[in-house]
Amino acid sequence: MEKCLMKGNEALAEAAMRAGCKCFFGYPITPQTEISAYLAKNMPKRGGVFLQSESEIAAINMVLGAGCTGTRIMTSSSSPGISLMSEAVSYIAASDVPCVIVNVQRAGPGLGGIQPSQSDYWQATKALGHGDFQMLVYAPNSIQEIVDTVFFAFDKAEKYRIPVMILMDGLLGQMMEPVAFPEYNYTPKEFDWATTGHNNKREHNIINSLFLQPDVLERSVDARYKRYEKIIENEQQCEVIDVDDNTDIVVASFGASARVVRSAVKMAHEMGIKVGTIRPKTLWPFPEKDFKKLIEKNVKHILTVEMNKGQMIEDVRLATECKIPVSFYGRNGGTIPTPEEILEQIVKIDKALKGGEIK
């Protein structure tokens, strides 16, 4: 497999086409625009439809419409654009339509700035839209992992009939790394729910999110939550490095900040500090199984590092049943924490632990 050098955004776009994505609807926004630009150039040549819509709201509604046919569909945007999409994302979830939504996060709130951020963690994992629903959320931390994620994101979206979000940030979208594309042949599937024309051979398939009778709506939501239970059971992904029975401190981080954390942890190892890392690769479902193991390993302290004001802390506390003290270090507004800043936090915690004082 020959390697090539790609930006995160381009690699994601190339992977989507190779994964069988046939329609892309979107509206440009920095730092995500290379996805649209790459697909605009290449998708028509490869038998796909690229359409730049008049707004993010139109784009996501096109995703809903086209997704009803069971075709592989994707849209992408960056934070403010994703907020605009929220109503239709709820409709997509309620209609059980599979699709992939990419958020190349920039700093918020509001129009914010164009530098990288992770401040849409809550939006992605808790409530991108009204009503009881979830999305499967992946948070890759390298260009290669972005590519690998795209392939199974489409598979999982179809398997569970759920919108899947790939949560990136401006740093991963803009940076270049060598990447290889796996062999993958997608044969479009026939779905018994898809609205592809009944040809007088079966009943109409109706895809809808309006249920005026409470008992009908409740059954529909409950059935969806049965699927969510399976997702929670089977789809948690997590990377745990340098954690054993002697580990004192574990640093929890996801996406690009996890790259900075690894550099900081290597520096801490040189100072003899017993520190490891845990990186959720799925943000929903949150990898609570791997976090629970930290309790058995008698980890003394967890430091979460994020490019936001600490949106993942509660999930870490809940997953570790509040049995391990959790502290936080983060930067926001588009500022990226440096390895030195994180090292300083690790050293501070290590000193406190050795002094017998646990924050």
């Binding site: 090539c4 381009e10 164009i114 900075v260």
Partner: protein
């Protein structure tokens, strides 16, 4: 005058316009060229003409330029995080001044559009100008597509490239083998572009003895926070 780059600096013309497909390494080459010339005691100006990308641009390196005595000419909106495609300087006046001028242009035809308006100026200095088309094999682009991209760029820039530069690399992970494996591609691209290969760009961490002349060794200046 020949420096340890095994490349004769006398071969570098007074004005260098650097064109190329998106993400082929134009800015890294532009900054390295200006550093080489400045270290050889030349007066150098570097103009950031990128109207496409608000990230990873020449103007990001201003503190280094100040240290090396290189004059940066850029839009007042560069490094402001404002995504405004404006050129707020007089390139004609700058081109008429003594000393070397490196012009870093935005990627693809959309970036080259910024050059179109300067056609008349560039005609005036025709003898002094090298118009370099940079390519990187590893950017998932075939020689035919690379040549096609050059035609699109030339149409927008209203200028014809005078040479190609082989900047094939895999970023920080580049090894000598990757450069060697790009020669066939480079020759084919040069043939399709109907242009000579001016030089090959090699990252500085690769052994200097492997390649012959016409090689420029460059630093990798764009780095991630964790590198």
């Amino acid at each position: 005058m020949k420096d340890n780059n095994r490349f004769n600096l006398e071969n570098i013309k007074r004005i260098n316009i650097i064109l190329g497909h998106y993400g082929c390494g134009k800015t890294n080459l532009a900054v390295n060229l200006s550093l080489m010339l400045a270290k050889a005691g030349k007066k150098v100006r570097i103009a950031d003409l990128d109207i496409v990308n608000p990230y990873f641009r020449t103007a990001d390196f201003n503190s280094m330029f100040e240290k090396e005595g290189i004059e940066l000419v850029s839009s007042i909106y560069a490094v402001s995080n404002l995504d405004i495609p404006a050129i707020t300087f007089d390139l004609e006046a700058i081109a008429s001044q003594d000393g070397y001028l490196i012009i870093d242009v935005g990627g693809d035809d959309s970036g080259a559009a910024a050059l179109g308006r300067y056609k008349n100026i560039f005609e005036k200095y025709k003898e002094d100008i090298e118009i370099i088309y940079v390519f990187n094999k590893y950017r998932m682009i075939t020689p035919a597509e690379t040549a096609e991209c050059l035609r699109e760029i030339e149409a927008c820039a209203r200028l014809k490239a005078t040479a190609v530069v082989n900047n094939s690399n895999l970023g920080l992970q580049t090894v000598a083998e990757d450069i060697k494996n790009s020669f066939e591609y480079a020759n084919e691209t040069a043939r399709l572009c109907k242009l000579p290969i001016k030089y090959t760009v090699v990252p500085e961490w690769i052994e200097k003895e492997i390649f012959g002349d016409n090689v420029i060794y460059v630093k990798r200046l764009v780095k991630a926070v964790w590198e």
